[in-house]
């Protein structure tokens, strides 16, 4: 090792004009703190999460407790019939609606999260491989994506659910099949952009294995996009699960899925609109807050220079 070469000027002292540029993690922290959509969306998601996790503690009744004498009690603000015993009223079988809604959050969040996570892992792996290797591998992956896009997803999902039944695990896997392509498309194109960077060439020139390059050099640069898509896909997964259950092809009664509540409430909606409004609004608010959070993450992790 030679002596230090004095490199003309770059002393260890800070130049008087030097300004502190935040590091990427620091920058994200700062942006997150001042991003209103992210904070609001994130708080609401956290609220739903807390309700879901602590439903057994918080809920006034059990999700399947029926009291046939107390059927279709309207919410508490109905001056004539409302009661604090059932603040959100009861359903056609006399089950406490608030309790059912709280347990419904469990199902929505669980299916949404795992469907988004499984499809993220599968889709991103496929996308990064196609984007990095290019050539025939990429052609094959493009072909897979094209096949997936050509299939009417909801219809295939409905058929599969009708074949395999509406267990939560089956739903998660079927929904994952529905959503992997978006990750694949995005990670593939981002990887293609990253691949041409000189830091990839530098890693190659070290004899780094391809797996190591994909995991160590490419993935950290794709991660943000994956998280953004995951949040958006989670929102869609929640809607689709509700839709399947609404059609009677998802989670089976008496499980309190929001989609199922909507479907059950549909017969009474002309007289008891709260039966569809509570689950409908629950889905709407959960989805909108996840979307706000996702849009927030996108803004927060965006490279500098874009507003």
């Amino acid at each position: 090792m030679p002596d230090t070469i004095h490199p003309n000027g770059l002393e260890d002292q800070v130049d008087e004009f030097e300004i502190a540029v935040p590091s990427p993690p620091e920058l994200m922290r700062r942006r997150a703190k001042s991003h209103r959509g992210f904070i609001i969306g994130g708080s609401v998601v956290l609220f739903f999460l807390a309700v879901a996790v602590f439903a057994p503690v918080l809920a006034p009744y059990g999700p399947y407790d029926q009291e046939l004498t107390k059927r279709l009690i309207p919410p508490v603000w109905d001056a004539a019939k409302g009661t604090w015993d059932h603040p959100f009223g009861t359903d056609a079988l006399g089950r406490d609606y608030l309790t059912r809604l709280m347990y419904g959050a469990q199902i929505s969040l669980m299916i949404g999260f795992f469907a988004a996570a499984v499809s993220a892992i599968v889709g991103s792996t496929i996308g990064m491989i196609g984007g990095y290797f290019g050539g025939r591998v990429d052609n094959f992956i493009m072909y897979l994506i094209n096949v997936k896009l050509a299939l009417p997803g909801l219809l295939v999902a409905l058929s599969l659910v009708s074949v395999f039944g509406g267990s939560i695990l089956a739903l998660i896997l079927i929904l994952s099949f529905l959503f992997w392509d978006r990750y694949a498309v995005v990670t593939r194109s981002v990887t293609q952009q990253i691949r041409v960077n000189d830091y990839i060439t530098a890693a190659q020139a070290l004899g780094t294995s391809r797996t190591r390059i994909i995991i160590g050099e490419v993935l950290p640069n794709v991660m943000n996009q994956i998280i953004v898509i995951a949040s958006l896909e989670m929102a869609v997964a929640i809607i689709v699960e509700a839709a399947l259950s609404f059609l009677g092809l998802g989670v089976q009664p008496p499980t309190p899925s929001w989609g199922l509540l909507l479907s059950e409430g549909r017969s009474y909606m002309f007289f008891m609109p709260y039966l569809i409004n509570f689950p409908g609004l629950a889905i709407f608010f959960l989805v909108i807050s996840i979307n706000m959070m996702g849009d927030g993450i996108r803004d927060i992790t965006a490279p500098e220079g874009r507003n």
Partner: protein, 330 residues
Amino acid sequence: MNQLMGQFGHPDSDAVPALECRNVGRTFMIKKGMFAEKQPLKAVQEVSLQVNRGEVLAIVGESGCGKTTLAKMLLGLLEPTTGEILLDGVPINSVSIKDIARKVQPVFQDPYSSLNPRKTIEQIISLPLKVHEIGSKESRRARVEEYMRLVGLPKRLVHSYPNQLSGGQRQRVAIARALIMEPKIVVCDEPTSALDVSVQAHILNLLQDLRKELNLTYAFISHDLAVVEHLADWVAVMYLGRLIEFGKAIDIFNNPKHPYTRALLDSVLTPDASLGLPEITLGRGLPNPLSPPSGCYFHPRCPDAKEQCSAEQPALIENEDRLIECHLYK
């Protein structure tokens, strides 16, 4: 050809050259569309040159002349389709890419794309050690700091990210990453052309100092002939994938022989206000490398073209103090 190279140019050629190209060529098969015939693109053809330990070999030419392809072959990232490359007399294709990596390392042009924006400076500089499983975590850290000092990076930047560094500092990081493997040869691909003038001087001085200190050999790829003149011992001029002139820098700059080399030298705009703009008589731009001209590739742009030039491809011959590929010289 090999014989020719043996006789040529190196009076002290008892020593094995640090880097030698023998008749190196690389052809890409370009496919335009699904059913089209693949077309050969000869990115590099019949390049023969050599450089001794501690010397600087400059490879010059315009974009599309094949210098980047050549650089990738020198780094072992592309295999030559013809000929062979020798490092210290050992053919490059007889050793693994990791062994090549210990001897040859790159420094790239764009200091923004050559550093992973999601990694800290320490992670970037220590990557070679990690990939090659050299040393413990602590010893790697010490070595990173050592090399940061060597290239003039303040220690406080060790946990910074590339976006927090100036262009010059980033290029120093890239140099430290290249040197930490203690390679003998550094392939510098336009290392200063993305930098500001005042920063370029720092980096060129640093590269000079490091070469002397560590007895490094540079393959220095550039289109800036002023920089090349300043730095290089040997100059190889490439045109459309072919080596058209190769010799000692001093000879080539004092007496360029190939008409293309002359045109390149004429194109250098020195900051001399008393001179006007040079008249360059090259006419049109570079031809399509997929269908290069007949005969000498340069003849459509050559002011001295003869009949023979469009019919017959000249061979690379030895002419006095250099190798040249031109019908004007015998």
